[in-house]
Structures are given as structure tokens and as C-alpha cells.
């Protein structure tokens, strides 16, 4: 069982795509594995025949356990099988004791047939050899990385066009053409694995990378001062692991709604549109740039303040919640953000997100406005220091210049980790954000 995500500890075999006796080649997808986050593909790491399946569909195995054997068609695998079974038993009983026959982290799921007198040693040797092959993310990445040695990915023109149109990164696609050329069917397979398809072009094509990527350090670590340490210790004692406090602010959304309408008129001829939430994300990112103290993680012995803004957007999925990340949200236009959210949310619901797509947020946003919630308090995703809970826009009577008028108002509630963000800091950030939403031109400044 390979480590198919950084946090994976065990996987469940959803489906074997090959049967015992089938020929397999390096790079073939041979099984679907359910991890803690999503269903991932398991690829064969060698050529040969799938001689034995040791963990059936529905079965679970911890990372590192041998779940199948690939070998020569007529090779004697009885010793390997015995070794694998005993290793599995040993690992279950002696996990964490550095058992010789399993390696920590990722051992390839399939052991190459190797002529060996000692079955256990063969498993070990193969395990050692395969460690280098383990990908911490999608298994396809390591194979494709070879292709870009001189920085140039070999891909046919139509494959490039297809990849660009559908947001597939060529560097993550394995090429089946001559000399590893990526051809149309490889990109089509990558699209199928993570379908973005809305019928026709309802979701607009997404550019592969942000327009501008800043140079310089990603973050700086600030050592804790005595006051910080004290606040941390005392508040943890009082409220639990993450000392939350909550700030609510009411925002007049009139100008923001006008901006949305204007933008949508501009986008109409391209068949695209944005939502208020896309605007809120963009404004939040701009506000975080102004208040970097809120764009931070609590690391226990330091605070990491990020120079880039990656916003996790909470998406409800079937049995829970996941937060796909919009990277560099302060550098992307609203239309881009909108398209990216819709694409990621679609895949999130189908459990097809890659690990690097739901990790790495510097701040999160959760919006329950569409469910009629006026305001709520969200729980912070550690190690982030804050999360913004967005309520729905309500028409309310308001007194202005002595008259009662109807305005569109929305409540934002920010949950802050008191170890990182104090009340005044959080309030200043919210005040900036309110200013930007009440006059969207401020985002451009």
C-alpha cells in the first residue's frame, strides 16, 4: 500500500482494475484506493504479470504492507507470498517497532519478482529499492517528472491544447507516446481521472498558473515573545486546544452587489459569471495583504506569517466538509477565482481532489448564506490563525439621515486564534474588509 497522500496511514481497496494473471506495464493504473481524503489511483511500478492479489476489494491495509505481487509469468512466488503474509501479520502486531520486512512511509504496493532464496529478504530488498519511487502525491507525478529534465515537456500540439483548455498540468501527465511524448489519450485520461467537465463550456477554461508570482520568501517565522507565550498558555488553559474568540461586523453590500452586476455584464459575452462569494474571497485576500498578522499559522514555538495569500474555501461534501485552496487569491481576478472554485468544488464533491489542492491554506472562508444563515461562528482549521464565517445578504430597514431606508446587509464573523491574533488586530482587519466590500474600488488600491 503506497502513501498516496501526505497524511495517509491506511488505505482501502475500492476496486482492482486488473485481475490475477493480467499483464501489466509500468504506469498502468491497477487499483483504486480510498484514502482519508479521496479515492486515488494506484499504478504499477514495474512490468510483468499480476501474479497475486493479497488484499481483496473492500479490504484495508496500512501504508507499507504488500497488497499484490507483480512478477514473471512462471516465476515461483510462493516464498514471496509467504513473506508478504508474515510481514503483514508482523506489521499488525509489531507496528512502530521498525519491523525489518516493512519500511516506514511508502513501500510500493507491488513487489517486483526477484530471484531470491530468502523470500523475506527479497521483500526487503525490493522494498528498499522501491522507496525511491514513492510519490508523496499523485503516483503519476514521478513518472512524468523524468520527461521534463531539460525543462521541456514533450507533448503533441493537440495534447497541449487540450491540457491548456481543461486546466490539466502537463507536468503531472505521464506520456505514452514515443520518447515519453504526451499524446491526446494521456491528457484525456488525466481529465477523466479528475473530471472538470461541465456540459459544453459552462465553466470557463482556467489558466494554468497565476498571472504574477511574487519572488522572495514565502513566510517568516517570528519567535514568541514572553507576552505571547503567556497569552498562549493562559488562553489554552481556558478554552481548549485553540483559544477562539469571535468578532462580528455588519457590512452594507449595496456597492458590492452593483460591482457584481457590472462585472457579470462584462463577462456575459464570454458566457461566464461571478458570485458575491467570489468577490468576498477576493476582498478578503486583499484585506489579508494589508493585515499580514492575520494571514498566519500557529506553529507552537513560533508564528508563521505568510507573504502569499492562499484561501481555503469550505465546500460541503457528502459526508463532511473539505476546503479546496485558491492559491495567491490576491493576485487572481474574480472571474478566475469563481471558475477555479467551481472546478475545485465539483471535484471535491466527487472525492477527486489531489492533496496539494486541499492543503496549504493560510486563511479560510466559510459561507452559509445560501442556507439562510444570518451569522455563525466557524471553527478554525489549525494551524491557521483565523477563519471568516459569511452569512447571507438580508434586506433590512436602516436609519439614514433621519429616514428609514432598505439596505442589503451581511454579517461577517471572524474566528481568531488568540495566540496569534488579538482583538484589536482582528477588528482592524475586519474594518478593512468591510471598507473594501462597501466600496470595492478599495480593492484596487
Amino acid at each position: 500500500m503506497e502513501a498516496l497522500s501526505p497524511t495517509m496511514e491506511e488505505g482501502q481497496v475500492v476496486k482492482w482494475l486488473r485481475s490475477e494473471g493480467d499483464g501489466v506495464s509500468h504506469g498502468d493504473v491497477i487499483a483504486e484506493i480510498e484514502t482519508d481524503k479521496a479515492t486515488m489511483e494506484l499504478t504499477a511500478r514495474g512490468d510483468g504479470v499480476l501474479r497475486a492479489i493479497l488484499v481483496p476489494e473492500g479490504g484495508t491495509a496500512p501504508v507499507g504492507e504488500v497488497i499484490a505481487l507483480i512478477g514473471e509469468p512462471d516465476e515461483d512466488i510462493s516464498e514471496l507470498q509467504a513473506a508478504a503474509v508474515s510481514a503483514a501479520a508482523a506489521s499488525r502486531s509489531g507496528r512502530g517497532e521498525g519491523d525489518e520486512t516493512t519500511a516506514e512511509g511508502g513501500v510500493a504496493a507491488a513487489v517486483e519478482g526477484a530471484a531470491a532464496d530468502d523470500g523475506a529478504a527479497a521483500v526487503n530488498r525490493a522494498a528498499g529499492a522501491k522507496l525511491a519511487d514513492v510519490a508523496t502525491g499523485s503516483p503519476a507525478v514521478s513518472a512524468a517528472a523524468d520527461e521534463a529534465i531539460d525543462g521541456r515537456v514533450k507533448a503533441s500540439p493537440v495534447a497541449r491544447r487540450l491540457a491548456a483548455d481543461s486546466g490539466v498540468q502537463l507536468a503531472t501527465v505521464s506520456g505514452s507516446g514515443p520518447a515519453g511524448r504526451i499524446v491526446k489519450r494521456d491528457v484525456e485520461a488525466a481529465i477523466e481521472a479528475g473530471p472538470t467537465a461541465a456540459p459544453g463550456r459552462a465553466t470557463p477554461p482556467m489558466p494554468a498558473a497565476p498571472v504574477l508570482v511574487p519572488s522572495g520568501a514565502e513566510f517568516e517565522d517570528i519567535p514568541l515573545s514572553q507576552m505571547r507565550k503567556t497569552i498562549a498558555r493562559r488562553l489554552t488553559q481556558s478554552i481548549g486546544p485553540v483559544p477562539h474568540f469571535f468578532l462580528t461586523i455588519e457590512v452594507d453590500m449595496g456597492r458590492a452587489m452593483e460591482a457584481r452586476a457590472t462585472i457579470n455584464t462584462m463577462l456575459e459575452r464570454e458566457g461566464r459569471k461571478i458570485s458575491l462569494n467570489d468577490l468576498i474571497i477576493r476582498a478578503t485576500a486583499a484585506a489579508l495583504k494589508r493585515h499580514p498578522a492575520c494571514n498566519a499559522h500557529w506553529l507552537g514555538d513560533s508564528i508563521r506569517r505568510f507573504n502569499r495569500v492562499h484561501i481555503g474555501v469550505a465546500v460541503a461534501v457528502e459526508d463532511g466538509l473539505i476546503t479546496p485552496v485558491i492559491r495567491d487569491a490576491d493576485l487572481k481576478g474574480v472571474a478566475h477565482i469563481g471558475a477555479e472554485i467551481r472546478e475545485l468544488a465539483g471535484r471535491a464533491r466527487e472525492k477527486r481532489l489531489q492533496p496539494d489542492e486541499y492543503t496549504g491554506a493560510t486563511f479560510s472562508i466559510s459561507n452559509l448564506g445560501m442556507f439562510g444563515i444570518h451569522e455563525f461562528t466557524a471553527v478554525i482549521n489549525p494551524p491557521e490563525a483565523g477563519i471568516l464565517a459569511v452569512g447571507g445578504v438580508e434586506q433590512v430597514p436602516v436609519v439614514e439621515a433621519g429616514e428609514v431606508v432598505v439596505r442589503n446587509r451581511m454579517k461577517l464573523t471572524m474566528s481568531c486564534d488568540h495566540r496569534v491574533i488579538d482583538g484589536a488586530l482582528g477588528a482592524a482587519f475586519l474594518s478593512t474588509l468591510k471598507g473594501m466590500l462597501e466600496e470595492p474600488a478599495a480593492i484596487l488600491v
Binding site: 503533441s156 500540439p157 493537440v158 495534447a159 505514452s176 507516446g177 499524446v183 491526446k184 489519450r185
Partner: protein, 326 residues
């Protein structure tokens, strides 16, 4: 509709056009008394008389020039070359006069004539009598080149060629004369020049070709279909003017193509087509466009070597599989 031979289709076209316009006349070796070396002009002398159907001496340069002169004064000659291999003797007249006269005369002197006859190999005719001659006629601008592959195309295109006011090289196929096919009965059945014909539809790969090779392409497509691969077979029909839109459409559909031709690879027809596809359909390509051609040798006389040197269905299938990466 009736099923007639390619030969009879040509005969009908000639007769109908000669009936329709008294300026149309036929000249060449053996076209009159002998009814034509391949019997294409059978019965025409009897029907139209010796002013309209003229036997010439064995001097291609001479009678080509004679035809050009006739065209310059307003007649519409159809000059038959017994095979286009023999026409090499006439190329000075064809290239230097027929194709250039309109331009050099500032548009005053048009040359409305047709040079027709078989081009390409038959069976064991030897290197000098087996050449596919398209490229010699295609290179110089000013002359149109047409290569029908079926009886219907032969009839419709020959009528169009005779009515065309520019010189047209009409290249038939010796091995096609006996091929039968449905031909519309319509008395005025004309196929415009410059329009290709999709002889077979499929979505996986495009086989683009012309002339007798169209039949080889269809054989190759049948083989591929057994492997679940469906090929488009595009018969260009006209090489000049060229139906570029049809070429681009099929490549856009399948993303991969081969060019199949009877001639040699160096500067062959396929080289031009590949260049067009590369320039105008680059982003539609999943693989380079491959060409299947005759081997780059004078065609052998030996039976087995000749078969080997000519491009057959097997080589076309192999090329298709290569561009499909299977």
C-alpha cells in the same frame, strides 16, 4: 443511375461535351481509327467525323503545341497522351506555353484545353512507363491537375475540365479503366474542380489520397476496421486547385493523418499536403503526418519487386497505426 466502367464514363463525358460545344475536339495517338489505345474514344470518330477526332503522329511535343495553338484561337482541344510518361517530351509546350500564356499575355490569351491520359503504374510496364506524373504538372503555377478515382468522378470531372477555361492535366489510371461504378444519368452531371470527396467516414485517423490509391486506401480502411479503428478516406480529386478546407476538416476531426500516394517521396504530392497541414492545423495534430509512397527507386520490372516497391494497403495500415500510437 447506372453502373458503368471508368472507361465508358470518360467516353460519355467526351461525347456529351463534343455534342454540347462544337469547338471541342480530340487529338492524340490512335484516338480515331483505333478507337483509342485504351478504347476511351471508342465510337467517337464514327459519331463526330474526322474534323473532331484526329489521329496524330508519334510526336507529343508537336501535337501538344498544335493543341495549344488551337486553344489560343478559340478552339477547345482535348489532347490525349497515350500515357503521361510520354508527355515528358511535351513538357516544354505544356509548362512554358500552356501554363504561362495567360499570365504572360496580360490576361489576353487563355488556353482552354485538357491534356488527358493514364498516369502511374500498371503491371510490369517497366520503370519508364510506370511513373506517377502529377508532380511535374503541379509544380508550375498556371495549370490545373485533376485525378479522378471512380467512374462517377471521371465523368463529372472531365466535363468540368473541358468546360474550364484554363489548361487542365486530367490524369486517369490505367488500372482503373475497367472499374465499374454508379454514375448519375443526369445529362449535365458536372463535378466542380477543387472539391474533394470523403469516400469513407470514420473518426480515428485520416487517410488522405488521390487517384488509384483511393482504392488502396479503402482496402487499408477495411483492414483497420477489423481492429476497431475507423478511418476517414479523403479523395482529393483535384490537386490544383486544392480543397484545403476538406483536408483541415478531417484532420481537425481525427487529429492524425497519413498521405497515401503512388509517386515517389521526394517532393511528392504528400509533401505539399503535409506542409499545409503542419502550417494550418498544427494545434490539431496528435502525431506527425506520415506519408506512404512508392519506394524511392525507379520502379522494378520484376513482378515481386514491383509489388514491394509500390505502396500497398499493408504499409498504409502500418502508418495509420503508427500515428495512432498503437
Amino acid at each position: 443511375m447506372a453502373a458503368i466502367t471508368y472507361r465508358d464514363a470518360l467516353n460519355q463525358a467526351l461525347a456529351e461535351e463534343m455534342e454540347r460545344d462544337e469547338n471541342v475536339f480530340l487529338l492524340g495517338e490512335e484516338v480515331a481509327e483505333y478507337d483509342g489505345a485504351y478504347k476511351v474514344s471508342k465510337g467517337l470518330l464514327e459519331r463526330f467525323g474526322d474534323k473532331r477526332v484526329k489521329d496524330t503522329p508519334i510526336s507529343e511535343l508537336g501535337f501538344a503545341g498544335l493543341g495549344i495553338g488551337a486553344a489560343m484561337v478559340g478552339l477547345r482541344p482535348v489532347v490525349e497522351f497515350m500515357t503521361f510518361n510520354f508527355s515528358f517530351l511535351a513538357l516544354d509546350q505544356v509548362i512554358n506555353t500552356a501554363s504561362k500564356m495567360l499570365s504572360m499575355s496580360g490576361g489576353q490569351i487563355g488556353i482552354p484545353m485538357v491534356f488527358r491520359g493514364p498516369s502511374g503504374a500498371a503491371l510490369q510496364l517497366g520503370a519508364q512507363h510506370s511513373q506517377a506524373c502529377e508532380t511535374w504538372y503541379l509544380h508550375a503555377p498556371g495549370i490545373k491537375v485533376v485525378t479522378p478515382s471512380t467512374p462517377a468522378d471521371a465523368k463529372g470531372l472531365l466535363k468540368a475540365a473541358i468546360r474550364d477555361n484554363d489548361p487542365v492535366a486530367f490524369m486517369e489510371g490505367e488500372l482503373l479503366y475497367n472499374v465499374k461504378g454508379e454514375v448519375p444519368d443526369d445529362a449535365d452531371f458536372v463535378i466542380p474542380l477543387g472539391v474533394a470527396d470523403l469516400k469513407r467516414e470514420g473518426g480515428d485517423v485520416s487517410i488522405i489520397t488521390h487517384g488509384p490509391m483511393v482504392h488502396v486506401a479503402l482496402q487499408a480502411a477495411a483492414h483497420l476496421a477489423k481492429d476497431g479503428i475507423e478511418a476517414d478516406v479523403l479523395d482529393l480529386r483535384s490537386l490544383r486547385p486544392l480543397d484545403v478546407d476538406a483536408i483541415l476538416a478531417t484532420v481537425a476531426k481525427t487529429n492524425r493523418a497519413i498521405y497515401l500516394e503512388e509517386g515517389w517521396p521526394y517532393l511528392g504530392v504528400g509533401a505539399q499536403i503535409v506542409s499545409i497541414i503542419m502550417e494550418e492545423a498544427f494545434d490539431d495534430l496528435d502525431a506527425p503526418v506520415l506519408r506512404v509512397t512508392q519506394a524511392d527507386v525507379p520502379l522494378p520490372y520484376n513482378k515481386k519487386l514491383e509489388i514491394w516497391a509500390k505502396p500497398g494497403a499493408a504499409r498504409a495500415v502500418e502508418a495509420c497505426k503508427k500515428v495512432l500510437y498503437v
